[in-house]
């Protein structure tokens, strides 16, 4: 029942990965990376439902907690340099 949803989400993830690879500026790449992180959180939630394992939710929780730090750090780098 969830196979259709998981397949569609994987296709969306592959399209975002194509955007991540085929771009020229750093800012576009950071935006695509942010979207990749959020999509992988949702994919982990769906996989924990599909495999009936609650332990995957912990990984999604950690990704949701510290995933935004990468984007914030890259924003600081674009703004001021290291």
């Amino acid at each position: 029942m969830f196979e259709v949803s998981i397949t569609l989400l994987s296709i969306a993830l592959l399209l975002t990965l194509y955007r991540f690879i085929k771009t020229t500026t750093l800012a576009d790449r950071v935006v695509a990376f942010d979207v990749l992180g959020i999509m992988s959180i949702s994919l982990l939630v769906l996989l924990s439902l599909s495999f009936q394992r609650e332990i995957y939710l912990d990984i999604a929780l950690v990704l949701a907690l510290i995933g935004f730090l990468t984007t914030t750090l890259f924003g600081r780098y674009i703004e001021k340099g290291l």
Binding site: L8, V31, A32, D34, I38, L49, T72, I78
Partner: protein
């Protein structure tokens, strides 16, 4: 109950697919960030609420995930938008003529 959950999960996945297509189709960085932040927040919320409908015993961790997404997603996008603007990126679309920042 089960049908409501599956329908919400499907809506969330559709939001993600629209977000990925928009990320490819949009012309410049600001519009890409617009579509990359709002629709992914909505998609994550719909998927998490759908999984809560299907597995009600996981409600604590799932609501924590939704809470942290709601907290951190606007923060990162705001920091990134300010950095791109100060770096000197320009809009390609005609939507905004004068610089309001």
């Amino acid at each position: 109950m089960e049908y409501i959950g599956s329908f919400l999960i499907f809506l969330g996945v559709i939001a993600f697919v629209i977000s990925a297509i928009g990320l490819i189709r949009m012309p410049d960085t600001y519009t890409r960030m617009h579509i990359g932040t709002k629709s992914t927040t909505m998609g994550t919320f719909l998927i998490v609420i759908g999984v809560i409908f299907l597995e009600p015993t996981w409600i604590l961790k799932l609501s924590l995930i939704a809470f942290f997404i709601l907290l951190t997603n606007p923060l990162s996008s705001s920091v990134l938008a300010r950095a791109i603007h100060r770096d000197g990126s320009t809009l390609k679309s005609d939507a905004m003529k004068e610089d309001q920042l």
